[in-house]
Every structure is written in C-alpha cells, then in structure tokens.
C-alpha cells in the first residue's frame, strides 16, 4: 500500500452474461482523491462495471488493484470492508428515521453497559459532520421522509463517507433533480474533493455537471472505454459531439444489419 498508488485500478476486465458481452477489456484508473466521471449510453456497461467494483459481480478476466494491491472482491461486504462504498439511486436511507439515526444506522453509539442509544451525542456528531461538509439541513432531527431529493442524496453520500469510505461509487447522483437540488450534491462533491479523503467514481448523464466536478472523463461504449481525457483537455462541445457521433454510428450500424 503506497500513497502514490491509485485508489482503484481496473486492468483488462471482461464480463459476459451468457452470450452477452457486457464488458470487453476495460482499463480504468482512479487516482487518490480524484473524481472520475463515467458517462455512456444506456446499456453501455456502466452498471456492470460499478457492480464489479462493489463486489456484486466477479469479472471473467482481468484484475482489480485497490491501493496498489491486487484483490478478488468476493462480495459487497468484502468490498465494503476495503472501504469501497456505493450510493445507489434508490437510496438506502430509512424514511421514518431522523437524519442522525440514518447517519449512525448499524454504527450506533450506546450508553454501555446499558443498551440505550446515546441520541444526544449522535445528534451532536451528525450536526458537526454535516456542517463541516456544508450539507445544509434545518435540523438533524428531521425525518428523512420530509427532506428533498437533493438533501437525501447529500445525506446518503455523507453517510457513506462518514463510514470511512475511501472509494465512493455514485450511481447517477444527480438524476431526476432540479438545478438547485443538484447544486447541493455538487457542492458536497466539491467539498469532498478538497478534503482528499475519498476518491469518487460518478456515473452521470448531465455532461455540464460532470465537467464541473470531475478530474477525468471516461466514456464507456459497447462494454469498452472508448474515450479517456482529463477535464482540462475536453469541453462540453466535444463530449456532446462524441455522444452524437456514437449515437449516429450505432444507429447506422443497426440500419445496415
């Protein structure tokens, strides 16, 4: 384990489901503390790739290197024990519980040896942490059911980081969100970047937003990475052109078969 090693390195990974090739010789590098924007059409293999990194699927070929050490991710909990956390679109928050109970779910502070919860202390720590992260909510006592979509997404991300995640996989964190709501989540990702405690892979459809927070953009097409550039060397126009070109090519291909 070294400081210069990437947080995650994926080398020559392939995955088939029966006759369907989902991923073909995928190479991807996530340097420590960086944000990688992963874009691509529906069915390009983004979720298969994410599920391999979270240990849900095992690759047929290739290797995964975490912190410079090759690992075989056996299960989701195995990946989690290595600090790899995923925040899915269908959030794992509990609507009937307060924000701070959600933050501490399965990591509750107890008044040992008594079995009672230290609600006051959990509240204080949750409030302090969310403040540090710049997540604005009126009160950590609020039930999650009463929060907006953006606030929920921000809480879910903050919870994952608070559980000492070192690699965060965000599955479309900005989907179905208005500009103001998306702002909340983008600001949080900016904040996390500055702290450099966590490295992030972010799947997204809105290129302007990806360009704003990501350090590097990878485009997945037909199960393989077909575009890989640092954000400083690309632009919204280029990404749009690439996607339009993709679209045209795939449809012409279909028309010719």
């Amino acid at each position: 384990m070294t400081d210069t090693a990437p947080a995650i390195q994926i080398e020559h990974v392939s995955k088939r489901f029966g006759p369907v090739v989902a991923l073909r010789d995928v190479n991807l590098t996530l340097p420590k503390g960086e944000v990688l924007g992963l874009i691509g059409d529906n069915g390009a293999g983004k979720s298969t790739l994410i599920k391999i990194v979270t240990g849900f699927h095992q690759p047929d070929e290739g290797r995964i290197v975490v912190d410079g050490v090759e690992v075989r991710l056996r299960s989701v909990s195995h990946a989690r024990s290595l600090g790899i956390e995923t925040v899915y679109q269908d959030l794992a928050l509990i609507p009937g519980l307060s924000v701070y109970h959600n933050m501490f779910l399965k990591r509750e502070l107890l008044l040992s040896p008594l079995p009672f919860l230290r609600n006051g202390e959990m509240k204080r720590r949750a409030r302090q942490y969310l403040n540090e992260m710049g997540v604005a909510i009126t009160s950590v006592d609020t039930e999650v059911a009463k929060l907006s979509g953006g606030q929920r997404q921000a809480i879910a991300i903050a919870r994952a980081v608070y559980s000492r995640a070192r690699v965060l996989l965000l599955d479309e964190p900005l989907a179905a969100m208005g500009a103001r709501e998306g702002r909340l989540v983008l600001d949080l990702i900016h904040n996390l970047k500055q702290r450099r405690e966590v490295s992030i892979v972010m799947i997204a459809h809105n290129y302007a937003q990806v360009l704003e927070v990501a350090d590097r953009i990878n485009l997945l097409r037909h199960g393989t990475i077909s575009f890989d550039k640092p954000v400083s060397e690309t632009s919204l126009e280029e990404l749009t052109d690439v996607m339009v070109e993709e679209y045209r090519r795939s449809h012409v291909a279909v028309a010719h078969t």
């Binding site: 509990i94 609507p95 009937g96 519980l97 509750e108 609600n119």
Partner: protein, 319 residues
C-alpha cells in the same frame, strides 16, 4: 404559535390525544356517571388488555408485518398456566411462565413461516388463529376459575384492577422506550421503512421480524393471563378476533401505519383509551346493543378522519 404548542403538534400522537380529550369532555358533560371512580376503573379494565396486545402489534406493524392470532394466544396462555399448576402440580408462577413460553413458541412459528417460507403474515397468522381457536375449543373444555383466588399473588397478577392498569402502563412504557431509545427500535423502524436499505446497511431484518412476532405473541399471552385473573375465570372463548381487532384498531387510531415504517406505542395506548371511552360512554348513555355498533363504527370513522386530517395538515406545515 408558541414553542410549546408547535412542539406538541410535532408529536405524532398529538392529534389522537386531542380526539381522546374531546371525547372524554363530551361524555363527562353529558353523563354525570362518567367521571366517577368506579366508571373510570371500568374504562381502565377494558383498555388494559387492549393496550398490552396493541403494544406488541405496534412493533410488528412498524416492521411491516401483522399478527391476527394474539387473541387466540390470549385464551391459550392461561389454560397452559392452569394445566401446569393444576395437573402437573408445579407452582403457579411457573405455570404463568409456561403459558408465556407457549405464546413465544406460537410467535416463533408465525415468524419463521413468514420470514423463512415467505408466506404473507396476514395469511400465516390467520391460519394460526383458526388452528389455535379450534384446538382451544376442542381440548380446553369448560371455563375454570383462576387458581389462588383472593391471594395477594392473584391480586398482583391482575385481579386487582389497579394492578392490571400498572401492568398495562408498564408494558407500554417498556415497549415505547425500546422503540425510541434502543437499537431494537431503530432496526424495527428500518426494517419496515426500507427493507432492502436496512438489509444493505447490515440490519438482520429476519431476526428483527421473528423477535417482534414472538414479542407480540407473548404480550397476547400476558394480556390473556392478566385478564383471566381479573375476571377470576379461564375461558376458551376469551380474547379471540375481537381482542385482536381492538388492538389493531388502537394501533391504527394511534397513528401506526398499516404499511409499516412508523408508529408509536403511546399512540396505541391513547387509541385504546379512545375505544374504551367510546364504548363506555355510549353504554352510560343507555344506547341499545343493536344501535351501539352502528354508533361505535361511525365514531371510529369520524375519529380517524379527524386524526388523519390533523396529521396531514401538520405535515404540510399548516399547523
């Protein structure tokens, strides 16, 4: 609005408390006998068993399941107690514990069939209800008097109405504290609120469900045992679907969601009070038995409509 008042309306069970107080005031003004101590004890006697069964039902409903059989365990537990005391010859307190253990076993079967075999709990516990009701009527026979009548032990076990009320309030307090201040409560709300999310976070949702099935059943057995001592009689037809429906109604009137994920035990206690006050108040007013159910049903509907409306307005921030 003052801070006290706004804190009050934030509490889930606040609206049903308003309904309960309004009902109490109405009957107090219209029937002079309502506020007498003997009548209040009658109300307490009715609500104790309902509140105890409802406490277990609330936890089960919060974690997304329901138990239709606690009314049958209600009748079974005191019979087990009587059998162990009278036929086996063991001390009465061992008989009581045996009755509660049999109740727990019924809950365990309910839980395992629901969680492991994935039969919906409505069906599992409906089947269990018929099974237990049939067994009770076949084997338990005629009503028998409760043992050790007139002793202090029988008084403590519910023969004294005050003792039964203390049992009920104690159960409500313990379960509410468990719900609000322990991991058991957090995991119960999580299991019912977002089953997949809770399991992903590492909550053992199967264990939480089975444990709540067992507790609901044990509380059904406890309520039946206390009730048997109160009326000095062990009767195979005690409890039944009536007791179960009263408990589920008390829970729902008290704000517990049928779909799971939220609810309070204190709310269910107030729900039980509302039901008791309604039936006692109408009896005092001399309403005929056949019209009684019509009025009771309508009153429950009105109480619920008021309650739900208040809750919705509170959520919209209008209150």
């Amino acid at each position: 609005m003052s801070r006290v008042a706004s804190a009050f309306v934030q509490v889930r069970w606040a609206s049903i408390l308003v309904v309960a107080v309004a009902l109490g005031a109405y009957f107090a003004f219209t029937s002079p006998a309502f506020l007498t101590s003997s009548n209040l004890l009658t109300i307490a006697g009715f609500l104790c068993a309902t509140a105890i069964v409802a406490s277990g039902e609330v936890m089960l409903m919060i974690c997304g399941e329901i138990d239709l059989s606690p009314g049958m365990v209600f009748a079974l537990a005191p019979f087990v107690m009587y059998f162990v005391y009278n036929d086996v010859g063991l001390p009465l307190w061992i008989g009581i514990i045996a009755g509660l253990l049999v109740s727990a076993a019924v809950g365990l079967v309910n839980g395992l069939v629901t969680v492991v075999l994935r039969v919906p709990s409505f069906v599992t516990t409906l089947g269990m209800s018929f099974l237990l009701a049939g067994l009770s009527l076949t084997f338990l026979g005629f009503p028998v008097p409760t043992p050790q009548e007139g002793t202090r032990f029988a008084d403590v076990m519910g023969h004294s109405q005050v003792a039964e009320l203390i049992w009920a309030l104690g159960v409500v307090a313990v379960v509410q504290i468990g719900l609000s201040y322990t991991r058991w409560g957090l995991y119960t709300i999580s299991t019912g609120g977002n089953l997949l999310g809770a399991a992903e976070a590492g909550v053992n949702v199967a264990r939480i469900k089975v444990a709540n099935f067992m507790m609901c059943s044990v509380l059904g057995g406890l309520a039946g045992t206390l009730e048997a001592f109160r009326i000095s009689s062990i009767d195979a037809t005690a409890g039944g679907y009536d007791k179960m429906f009263q408990a589920v109604s008390a829970a729902v009137i008290g704000g517990t969601a049928l779909a799971g994920g939220s609810g309070t035990v204190i709310g269910a206690l107030i729900g039980a009070i509302v039901l008791s006050v309604l039936s006692d108040g109408f009896t005092l007013q001399g309403i005929e038995a056949k019209t009684f159910n019509v009025i009771l049903g309508a009153a429950i509907l009105v109480a619920m409509i008021v309650n739900v409306t208040l809750q919705r307005r509170r959520q919209q921030g209008a209150l």
